[in-house]
Symmetry: C2
DNA sequence: ATCTGCAAGTTATAGTATAACGTTGCTTGA
DNA sequence: TCAAGCAACGTTATACTATAACTTGCAGAT
């Protein structure tokens, strides 16, 4: 069977491209929506994108301080709230952490594979999952507003290296 | 189209039956597994089952105090941890809250419909959702350990009463 | 009777998030 | 240009959620 690897699972990918692409998309999207991507907001987005592992809000504060900004919690939470509203970052409730959205602008849901070993989170774009959820909700007479799907398990890399059987 | 109402969406159902059934099942399951359902654990389970709305850990403390127990946070968190391990309650990460499991003992996942109006949470047992998630994960080379699906939206009752269109 | 080990009590603190109010700085219209 | 209005950010304080670490109590086994 062929396995389609998510970019997050390619250890040697050029991550600068991920970051730059995310920042560019954010600029474009904010401009299109008449929103201001201020320096702090851009910085927070960049920091969230430092890796494919979700970052806690408090993990971001030191870097914000180093960049010369106030680094009290409300600063980072405000920026994160804005970025969430714009669909640029997602919050992973099961981790109390945030991760950059890999395809902002699309009308999509929050579906994630989270590796319990390395912590990497990969966003999914599966119509099959969305559809099965919508169908099931409809059967129950329930109208869906937001799907939060957080799947915990082992990513391909950690299955390979840490095969404890 | 016929809509199959979840028990949680039937406002006039005999909720004592829900509670008693949950407690009976808990007794049986703990006995079968050689686990002790102590008075505090049983009390916490009962309190969680007071309604079909998820309860925060700190919401339970006053009632625990009234029952004559110590009511410091570790007490309730320990009980909740035990109940989770036994599959008797689920934690809803998006709400930081806990809800009784409607079918303990089954090998099942945590799939919930959460009403954004009334707060009621209904547990799903959908093979279709599980299957689509497993398929999608497998395609990515990911091995699933735990599924957390929390769907936010409007329950049938709140759609009826609060039709804001 | 004593030992052992799990459960619960107790105190303290870590970790996550927001309220409330003040200040700054942009923009927009007279 | 200037003042008014507004959004973003600074700042302080605090609320809410969860766990660490140590002590005490209790039940079953030897």
């Amino acid at each position: 069977m062929s396995v389609q690897k998510n970019i997050a699972y390619q250890p040697d990918h050029d991550h600068n491209r991920c970051i730059n692409s995310a920042l560019q998309q954010a600029h474009d999207l904010c401009k299109a929506n008449g929103q201001r991507l201020t320096r702090i907001r851009e910085l927070v987005l960049k920091l969230v994108w430092q890796s494919h592992k979700p970052m806690g809000a408090y993990d971001l504060l030191p870097a914000i301080a180093e960049a010369g900004f106030n680094s009290a919690p409300p600063t980072v939470y405000r920026a994160l709230e804005f970025l969430q509203e714009q669909g640029l970052v997602h919050r992973l409730a099961s981790l109390n952490a945030f991760i950059g959205c890999t395809h902002p602008g699309h009308n999509h849901q929050g579906h994630f594979l989270i590796c319990s070993i390395c912590g990497t989170a990969a966003e999914l774009e599966s119509n099959a999952i969305s559809q099965s959820i919508n169908d099931c909700a409809e059967q129950a007479g329930f109208t869906v507003e937001q799907q939060n799907v957080e799947i915990l398990g082992r990513c391909p890399n950690c299955l390979q290296t840490d095969d404890t059987h």
